[in-house]
Structure formats: structure tokens, C-alpha cells
Amino acid sequence: MRRALHLPYAEEELRAIEAGDDVVVSGTLYVGRDQVHRRLFEAISAGGDPPFPFEGSGIYYMGPSPAPEGFPIGSAGPTTSARMDSFSPFLISHGLRLMIGKGPRREEVRKAIEDHQGLYLQAFGGCGALYASCIKRSEVIAYPDLGPEALLKLEVEDFPAICVIDSRGRQYHM
């Protein structure tokens, strides 16, 4: 089934999405990959606040190529989610419940999604130009020293994905 997800998400919209659904995402989406995960983990472990509100937010595992003039961002497809697996259960338990990336997740991540009614969407791997065309605005909001791995805030429109793990922990194929 095809479903829309508007960010920041409303609980009922998030929970209506089922494993195997085609999902079209619009709204504010945050971006972070390997090093951002490490820093979020360290910041929260030290008792600090994350640089963006986790409630209602999603994180997209991505590191864009540079934006040519006239484009808000360069190529912007998903990176491999498995590398974030060791940090995800911790972040999910602190409220970052929506994740978008590509490829399979570890059982601990699926379990954390089930326990906290999260959601994992898979974007189309390697389709950087396609995703660039769905991104209307992009700005660095934290960790600019990480260069292409910095924490970004995006405005996305009709961003296509597939639900692979739904809020009840049910998994599509994989």
C-alpha cells in the first residue's frame, strides 16, 4: 500500500505504516551518518541535549556530494544502515524513532523499534540524483567540521521509500 508520512510525524500516521508499504515522505528531515551517530551518543551519554528535537523527527543516513550552483544539495542517496546498528537502539530509546537508510538491520535494532514503536524505511540505494530532486532546502545545523558527514536539516518533498520494519517490529523480507 502507498502511504504518506509528514514530518514532524503524527503518531497515528507513523503507526499506520506497515512493513512492505511504499512510503512518500515530506517535511523536515535530519541527516546524520557514522560520525554524527558517535557524537549524538557521546552528547546524550554525557547528559547533554541533542542538537535537534528527537520527538517527531526522523534521521536519514546520508552524506551528500557538493551542491553545484543553483542546487540546494548535490547527490543525496542513502548510505548503508548496518553501520549505524550499534548506536540505533540507544538513540531509539531516547526518542529518535524514525530512521531512513538502506539495507538490513541487526535484530537488536528491530527489537528496539518494536519496543518503542519506531519505523525503519529503506530508500533506494545509489539513487543520489533522484533524491536530490526531492530535497528543497538543506542547511548544516551541527558538527560542520565533519564536512560531508555534518548534521543537516532538510526540507523534503515526495521522498520515496519502502517500509522495511514497521512500528510493531514486523519486517519486510530481508
Partner: protein, 275 residues
């Protein structure tokens, strides 16, 4: 760059142009395989459709097809009768890659210290280059734009010498099973057989330019049913190329390089006097 290694700007430009194009347009034979593959329906079809749409958008906008524009990997084949010095070829590869990264909006994906600071070099350099003497008087540069979602799934196995072809096929299938949906399937595989551990690994990348297609391995990998995007079905792989070399009586090294569907490569040939 050291002074005194005069290389022609046209030669640098040719490399840069080829690499910038490679990040945006797939080689004809690769695009044909992606276009002609008949996905097994369901999500396999959605993923293949997205890939085809992406190629169209990349061509139209000039944005790289994938944000991971990759590490520059290069095999330089230098004719023994070439008039180009090794130093000139080395400088040419570095300058060509640097220009491509700058002019072609390549992502800066290289860090200088792999374990500690992981500080970005800011240039997408250094390139990972190998130099081989060959017959003739030409210099041939084979480039891969090596994405790392797929490279993380590459690996080497040291088999027993009696493992034979069945053992080699089984090892390749096993390595791909472990890769699953991580490397952006449908993948293109390079298999290196023989040599030493490191030589097998090099052969597995050289196979993308000089390998022989293995129908048997292709079918065996597709039988895994990992499918496009790892969401099941067909195709899991669209090509398997194998390259072999002599090895030791006690061993049978098998290396696998996994490339994603965006099989980005370029070959540039320089005749005498062109470098």
C-alpha cells in the same frame, strides 16, 4: 607535486573529463544490462524503476548518479616501450583525479588517518593506484570510482588447494550471502583467483577490465534471491568477471570485489607523446 615533471595539460584534462562523465553516465554495456534486466515483480521492480529514473535525472541535471562518488582506484598499465616515465604517469593520475574531484563536484570521501582523527583530506585524494609493466608503447589507465557501501562487502578467502571450481563458486556465493542487501544490489562482481592474498585482491578489481565472464557464478549468486535493494527476487547480480593467476602448491586464494549497480569505470589510452 614536485617540479620538473612536465605533463601535458590535455592529458590531465582527458582523465578529468572521463572521470566526471563516469560519475554521471554508465558505460553502454552496463546501462544495457540494467535496462534489459527483467525484475521479478514487486519491490524488485520498484527498485529497478528507481535506478532507471535516477540515471535519467543524473544525465539531465548533471548531478552524480550517487553521492558516494567513490575513491579513485587506478590500474596503470605502462608499455615497456613507452616514452612516459613512471613519475609522469604517477603525476598524471594524481592531477587528473584532483581536477575531476574539483570540477566534477565529487564528494570528499577520503580521510587521512583511518583509526584516530579520521580527518578528511578535503581533496578526495590520494588515489589508490597500481602500476604494471605491459608489452607495447602505450599507457592505459583503468579507473574505478569505488563506492564503499559495496567495498565494505569485498573480501578474501584462502581456500585449500583441493577446493577446485566448486570451492571457488561456493566461496563467492558465501561472501555475497554475507553481503546481502548492504552493497546496493544488483551488483557487479570481480573475482580474483590465485596469486598471494594481496594479488588475489588486486586481480578481483582488475577483473572488471580483463576478466572472463562466469555464467556459472552469476547464476549461483542470483539463486541467492537477495534481489534489487536486498528486497528479494531477481536480479541480485548482473555480471561476474573472473581473473586468475599462478599460485602456490599449498593454496587457492579467492578474492571478491563487490561493485554496486552503479558500475562506474573509465579507461583512458595514451599513445606515445601524449603524456
Amino acid at each position: 607535486m614536485e617540479q620538473g615533471r612536465a605533463i601535458r595539460p590535455e592529458a590531465v584534462e582527458r582523465i578529468s573529463a572521463a572521470l566526471i562523465k563516469a560519475a554521471r553516465v554508465l558505460p553502454d554495456d552496463i546501462e544495457k544490462r540494467l535496462e534489459e534486466a527483467m525484475p521479478s515483480g514487486g519491490k524488485a521492480e520498484s527498485v529497478m524503476d528507481a535506478i532507471r529514473r535516477n540515471l535519467g535525472i543524473s544525465r539531465k541535471t548533471g548531478l552524480p548518479m550517487c553521492q558516494d562518488t567513490g575513491a579513485f582506484w587506478c590500474l596503470a598499465e605502462i608499455g615497456r616501450d613507452s616514452d612516459a616515465s613512471l613519475a609522469a604517469v604517477e603525476a598524471l593520475i594524481i592531477e587528473g583525479a584532483a581536477k575531476a574531484a574539483e570540477d566534477g563536484f565529487f564528494r570528499r570521501s577520503i580521510v587521512s588517518d583511518p583509526v584516530g582523527t579520521r580527518a578528511n583530506t578535503g581533496t578526495n585524494l590520494p588515489p589508490f593506484a597500481y602500476y604494471e609493466p605491459v608489452d607495447g608503447d602505450r599507457v592505459v589507465l583503468h579507473f574505478l570510482l569505488k563506492g564503499f557501501g559495496s567495498e565494505n562487502c569485498s573480501s578474501v578467502r584462502m581456500l585449500n588447494p583441493t577446493a577446485g571450481e566448486d570451492g571457488v563458486v561456493e566461496a563467492v556465493v558465501d561472501m555475497m550471502r554475507a553481503a546481502g542487501g548492504k552493497p546496493c544490489p544488483p551488483v557487479f562482481l570481480g573475482v580474483g583467483v590465485g596469486g598471494t592474498m594481496d594479488r588475489a585482491a588486486l586481480l578481483s578489481k582488475k577483473a572488471f577490465f580483463h576478466g572472463k565472464e562466469s555464467r556459472r557464478m552469476l547464476d549461483a549468486v542470483n539463486a541467492l534471491g537477495i534481489g534489487p535493494g536486498g528486497l528479494g527476487g531477481y536480479p541480485t547480480a548482473l555480471g561476474v568477471d573472473v581473473l586468475s593467476a599462478p599460485t602456490h602448491i599449498a593454496g587457492l586464494p579467492v578474492a571478491l570485489t563487490v561493485n554496486c549497480w552503479a558500475e562506474r569505470k573509465a579507461t583512458i589510452v595514451f599513445e606515445r607523446g601524449e603524456i
